[in-house]
Subunit: 419 residues, 2 copies
DNA sequence: ACCCTTGCTGAGTCCGGTCTCAATGCCTAC
DNA sequence: GTAGGCATTGAGACCGGACTCAGCAAGGGT
């Protein structure tokens, strides 16, 4: 039996590398990148150095099974010496766990998802999970693909913000295959899985009512949602989130006994230019909108810019409301009235729910309900050219005034009908 | 030889699952989650169904080696029937390629990184790579850990925005171990790897000069950089990026023959409250700052807010300049003067460089140089409490007319000293 | 003194693919 | 007619760990 060198310095380990990794007569053609051919130190190497069996070395390193103190020390010393690092791929292969979760979102560039992702990664890290992130650009085909790739990579679970709430076979399959799945932001038709989202219909209704009470009856809604359907097509809009928002708006109108502004609902607002164009149309058409609701922060940005370009003032000429309470909305003059969602917390909740599923623990205790809140700042006033209701109050223009607008409102007064 | 059922419907495949996956007398205790025990369809299953050897099935599915048309068809049909999906983990194990790259950033929540990440993921996807994203919160320990975990997961390469440009052993090890590595935004001392970053010193110098020419001599700089070192400690600040910016500022001062505002350089600006506090201090101390440079968009947000809270006007009372050209900077009144960096493009470049390394292609052609640009909008004016001289440019905002010091800057002429 | 338990240990299998190698059959060339 | 060439094919090794199982020695109980 040959004497085994244990006195290797870490400098010497390449020697070991050199002797192995040479499978047969055929080696990968490109030996140019000498680095690409390097072989990592394995348990076998460590075992040899520590003069124990591979099994024992693996036990010591993997921290399982019974190992004597003596062996453990020898192995650990050898591992350190050789600079051993476990191959998580191999480990995952026979544990069946990859300690990785897949996250599929529409657009990380959007701070909404950025923040949610932050909540997810923070939580995941805390439980020892890594996150593979995939962007879909809100494209369903990309999403289907993303889900498949992640499944192929054997992620332990998936968090998806589905681009479509209607076409959901791919998610259906994930679920019925038994892989943990949590939906974020949006629901999926006929898919009964943990979903972390706020009550969009409710907050949309509340916000619209707020606008209506301020005197508006021409309220526009702009969304990125890609759809060929005209508004009229009916209830399901492909995205539960957007459907719900629209439904909330319309309910508020019905309850107020006002004509629903179907003609002011606009989709396919992709890209700044499109959004600006839509905004101009809405404001310059005959019987224009007197208030605009932007479906997310990115849209809001361009809408506000378009309004400014038009030389119109907020809220004197147009009232403005948007989803997502980004910090910058406090910096504009007036500060913007927004619908705040606990995005970070929702990310956290989604990750927690997923991890709970992964670990097989059932009963999510009490499924936390997340609520969006209307943060009234200064971008909503009365309609200017409007025909309805009370007059618009003015903001004292330049000298910054903090806090919310002076819109005095019957704080709790319920409008006409309702149930 | 038993007849093999090929007429399975996809509904039936669980039958197969049931017969396998039962290793021995000992099974994982928790059989409750019947889903967690399910076994995936493997090449072996497909091979059996297609009545060919495992090797042939693998070849047909993996699309390598020689396979007859007949076999290929049978295998593909069987695969489809059984709903076969390759196990990328297993595949990675013996190809040594995981088609995954690791990205380590300080904070995805920060739109700067959000955008860069977008550039990276877009590019990665285009080349068939996935991205594992890790957040470090700009904490070096977390970064070391992240790098190790990603290496253990056998990512094909790493893109890191190092939290520290000084303590870089972990990156050094990555590099010397031969794993592809690209740095983003910041350099690392003594590490000669592809780095995608802009010339910070240059743009910082240019911007500062712009401020000086506007009449400022009390210019503050606020950065998140965590450091115990006082400013005076000297050149290396732990972050190349921040060092460079500071150096650029100071060079502009030296060149203008002005006293360097060492006392106005502030670090450790974490969290909105801290930033606001710092801002207040800078503006209210005796001999206060007349201009503030915010080191990133997140800081800028709080600085502007603090200025507004103080009831001060930009640029009449304070001039403001920040790094990162976010869309919202155009919405404030006045719009903010910013230093724009081609963040998305840098993300793309980083990913491209990394993938080039991974694929062994050398010669990055010509390493693209990225340049930041000063976007002059409305937040820089002359100092208000200035000591006299020619006036700064006014925004036609408030009727104030003030004067600024007479620091005449020789536009191109080199100042006194230098080498 | 004898049987059992308990603690360690090494040999070897398995995860799910990729890849080598030898064997086969068929076609063409000499 | 037969050797050589080429496309196909199946058996099996292998990647790097986790895990089963049988062997073995020391310690406990009776």
């Amino acid at each position: 039996m040959p004497t085994i060198e244990t006195g290797l310095t870490s400098m010497d380990r390449n020697v070991i590398d050199a002797t192995k990794g040479v499978k047969g007569p055929l080696r990968k053609a490109d030996m140019s990148t000498d680095a690409s051919r390097r072989r990592d130190v394995t348990v076998a190497d460590v075992a040899k150095a520590a003069q124990v069996s591979k099994a024992q070395a693996a036990r010591a390193l993997g921290n399982y099974g019974a190992v004597s103190e003596d062996v453990r020390e020898r192995v650990q010393a050898a591992a350190e010496e050789l600079n051993y690092r476990p191959n998580e791929l191999a480990r995952s292969m026979n544990t069946g766990k990859s300690n990785t979760i897949g996250v599929v979102v529409g657009d990380i560039e959007n701070p909404h998802f950025g923040l949610a992702t932050r909540g997810i990664t923070d939580t995941a890290k805390r439980s020892g999970f890594n996150v593979i992130l995939v962007n879909t650009d809100e494209d369903r085909a990309a999403e289907v693909d993303a889900v498949r790739v992640l499944l192929d990579k054997r992620v332990d679970g998936l968090i998806v913000a589905p681009a479509s709430s209607v076409e959901t076979q791919h998610l259906q399959e994930v679920h019925s295959s038994g892989r943990p799945l949590v939906l974020l932001d949006r629901t999926a038709q006929g898919l009964d899985v943990d979903t972390v989202a706020v009550d969009m219909e409710g907050i949309s209704h509340e916000s619209t009512r707020y606008l209506i009470e301020a005197g508006h009856s021409r309220i526009a809604f702009i969304s990125t949602l890609r759809t060929n359907d005209s508004y009229a097509t009916g209830l399901s809009l492909g995205s539960s989130q957007i459907s719900d928002r629209r439904d909330g708006i319309m309910r508020a109108f019905r309850e107020a006994g006002l004509k629903e502004p179907d003609d002011l609902v606009r989709f396919n607002a992709d890209g700044p230019e499109t959004i600006k164009k839509i905004t101009r149309e809405l404001l310059q058409q005959p019987d224009p909108a007197t208030a605009i609701i932007a479906s997310d922060g990115l849209i809001g940005l361009s809408v506000v810019e378009a309004i400014q370009d038009l030389g119109l003032a907020i809220p004197d000429d147009v009232s403005f409301l948007m989803y997502d309470d980004f910090a910058w909305t406090r910096l504009t003059r007036p500060p913007l009235t927004v619908i705040a969602q606990p995005v970070y917390e929702m990310g956290v909740a989604a990750a927690e729910a997923l991890i709970r599923q992964i670990q097989g623990r059932k009963a999510p205790a009490a499924k936390p309900e997340f609520a969006a809140t209307l943060v009234k700042r200064g971008s909503v006033g009365g309609p200017s050219g409007g025909k309805g209701g009370h007059d618009g109050r003015r903001k004292e223009n330049l000298p910054t005034t903090k806090t919310s607008p002076d819109v005095h409102f019957p704080l709790n007064g319920a409008p006409a009908q309702s149930t």
